[in-house]
């Protein structure tokens, strides 16, 4: 059985963000890149599924500028994935990314389950998994914190509002978007890292996929940094005085009560 995992490489949360001069993106100089945290849960779940189903293989897939996104693919290989594919290209949106991922997965054939993260922490869009599922004409569930596979169907738990959970059953092939809580991602082992270094990562040029330019549906512009917050107002006096003053400020100054 072929299990796919889509991984996005994103700036580490601690990285300082600077805007590019044309304001359509960020200045990538000095950015520390990491695997999208939710995609770590996706890789882990795929590895567990492979281990429980002898003869299976985990394929990891990432779209973006090759020179850097292969780093995250190597991390996934070091975590235990079997094969990796990079779709090389720049400047795409969620729609064209989903299209590209779907095309490549289709071409590889035989997919059974495709894991993704519930969202990428940079664009914060949570859209690629569902769009890809639509392009593959398969069902999807996102925000998944529990996964089971019985050889034919998958049963997952999806986290929704108010702490509620939905138990969802899907026919395979299916797309599963991982949430925190699904598992504890394993660390890359030293032998894993050594092995990953030697692996050949398959390269596919985005331009070879025949995805028309009209498949780019959204573009960013006017990117700005958040406005400086006014300095904090520290309250004084004993706790009773502070509590009384806070309530007064929230009512009369901030007008939020």
């Amino acid at each position: 059985m072929k299990i796919f995992v889509c991984i996005k490489q994103v700036p580490d949360t601690e990285t300082k963000i600077k805007i590019s001069p044309d304001q359509t993106g960020i200045d990538t100089a000095g950015i520390k890149w990491v695997m999208n945290p939710y995609d770590e849960y996706a890789v882990e779940e795929a590895n567990k599924l492979r281990d429980a189903n002898p003869g299976s293989q985990v394929w990891v897939l990432s779209a973006g500028p090759k020179a850097r996104v292969v780093e995250s693919l190597r991390t996934a290989l070091a975590m235990g994935a079997d094969e990796a594919i990079v779709i090389n290209g720049e400047g795409l949106d969620n729609f064209s990314t989903a299209k590209a991922l779907a095309e490549v997965i289709k071409a590889e054939g035989g997919m059974k389950i495709i894991f993704t993260g519930k969202l990428a922490i940079d664009d914060n869009a949570s859209s690629v998994s569902q769009m890809m599922a639509e392009f593959l004409n398969v069902p999807h569930t996102t925000v998944v914190s529990k996964f089971a596979f019985n050889g034919e169907n998958v049963t997952v738990e999806r986290d929704v509002e108010g702490g509620a959970k939905e138990v969802v059953q899907m026919m395979t092939p299916a797309v599963v978007g991982a949430n925190k809580g699904l598992n504890m991602p394993r660390y890359a082992s030293l032998p894993g890292i050594m092995k990953a270094k030697k692996k050949v990562i398959k390269e596919i040029e985005f331009s070879s996929l025949n995805i028309p330019a009209t498949d780019i549906k959204v573009k960013y512009s006017g990117m700005t940094l958040p406005a400086d917050k006014p300095a904090v107002k520290m309250l004084s006096g004993d706790s009773s005085a502070q509590a009384a003053e806070l309530v007064k400020l929230l009512r009369d100054e901030a007008k939020v009560l």
């Binding site: 914060n124 738990e157 929704v160 108010g162 138990v167 925190k180 960013y220 009560l257």
Partner: protein, 322 residues
């Protein structure tokens, strides 16, 4: 001018505030506003939908749509879109909206902008602003090659005015368009909390490791009850097992945007700020004057949470009952 289609969500027959925001924003744009709502309670909200600006509302009153199923909802939304031919679709970036509309967009061969915090509609055109990189930057999203522009808005970002009960919407009943589902919703396990979800809450009282142990969240619940607030938490607290992970605010938890966020015993790590940094007013209560949370806060109290929080609860009780 064209048509704006608003996806109206409800809980137990009550129209959600986030949907009212969208209906009113759509009405203000001067476009014709059409709404869509599903399930056996669909009929309960059509009046409220009319009062808030829609002139037409499409319902599919099938109990099979009482719970969200990506496939059946996609089929039904797309069927209604084909009938109504809107140029813009607005929906909340709720768990349903965020899951559903990317799939709808892919089927309609059009673009979707998710998790937006600002919306500008001018005629058939729409631009939206969304936070990126955990709120460390904001981008304007422009649509291209998109016959229909789909925008998913975070809750509590748009103003809400009183409903106009003299306005009504005509109701159009539609058959359930879904067939051959590969997805089955087997069970819905109710959440522990009756309170509004964090992502919709207007006021959030959140606790961190400074609360010392699980039992002390009672203190925050008491404060939240007085304020009509929802209780949130940091990852440290979730990982310690004091509260469920549905309560986690932050990069790997929920992104929230309340008008008031009260952070109690929270240090203000970047991953926590990522989830709550766009709250309108932030109150920080921490016994360490150097805690980073104070750099983000609007109002700060340096002190012991166990001393301050019960006093605050009393003060709010007084203030809100007069």
């Amino acid at each position: 001018m064209g048509k704006v289609l608003v996806f109206a969500e409800q809980t137990n027959g009550k129209l959600k505030r986030s949907s009212i925001e969208l209906l009113q924003a759509a009405a203000k744009s001067g476009n014709t506003v059409v709404a869509v709502t599903f399930g056996s309670h669909a009929g309960d909200v059509t009046a409220a939908i009319g009062h808030n600006g829609a002139s037409e509302v499409h319902v599919v009153k099938d109990a099979a749509l009482d719970s969200y199923n990506p496939e059946s909802y996609t089929a039904n939304v797309v069927a209604i879109v084909n009938k109504v031919q809107p140029s813009i679709i607005l929906a909340s970036a709720s768990s349903t909206g965020k899951d559903l509309f990317p799939r709808v967009a892919a089927r309609l061969n059009t673009g979707v902008a998710s998790d937006c915090t600002q919306l500008t509609i001018s005629g058939d055109n729409v631009t939206a602003v969304k936070p990126m990189y955990s709120g460390k930057a904001f981008a304007t999203v422009n649509f291209e090659n998109s016959p229909i522009k789909i925008v998913l808005m975070r809750a509590n970002q748009l103003p809400v005015e009183a409903a106009d009960t003299s306005k009504t919407a005509s109701v159009v009943e539609n058959p359930n368009a879904a067939t051959d589902l590969k997805t089955l919703i087997k069970e819905i396990v109710k959440g522990a909390s009756e309170k509004l979800d964090l992502t919709e809450a207007n006021i959030i009282v959140s606790g961190g490791r400074g609360l010392k142990e699980a039992a002390n969240f009672k203190m925050l619940n008491d404060l939240a009850d007085v304020l009509g607030a929802t209780v949130g938490a940091t990852r440290a607290v979730v990982d310690a097992g004091w509260v469920g992970h549905g309560m986690q605010v932050g990069q790997t938890g929920k992104t929230v945007a309340p008008t008031l966020y009260i952070a109690v015993g929270i240090s203000g790590a970047i991953q926590h700020l990522a989830g709550m940094g766009s709250s309108k007013v932030i109150v920080a209560i921490n016994n360490d004057a150097n805690a980073p949370i104070f750099q983000k806060a609007t109002y700060g109290i340096v002190g012991d949470a166990f001393d301050i929080v019960p006093k605050l609860t009393e003060e709010f009780k007084k203030a809100l009952h007069h």
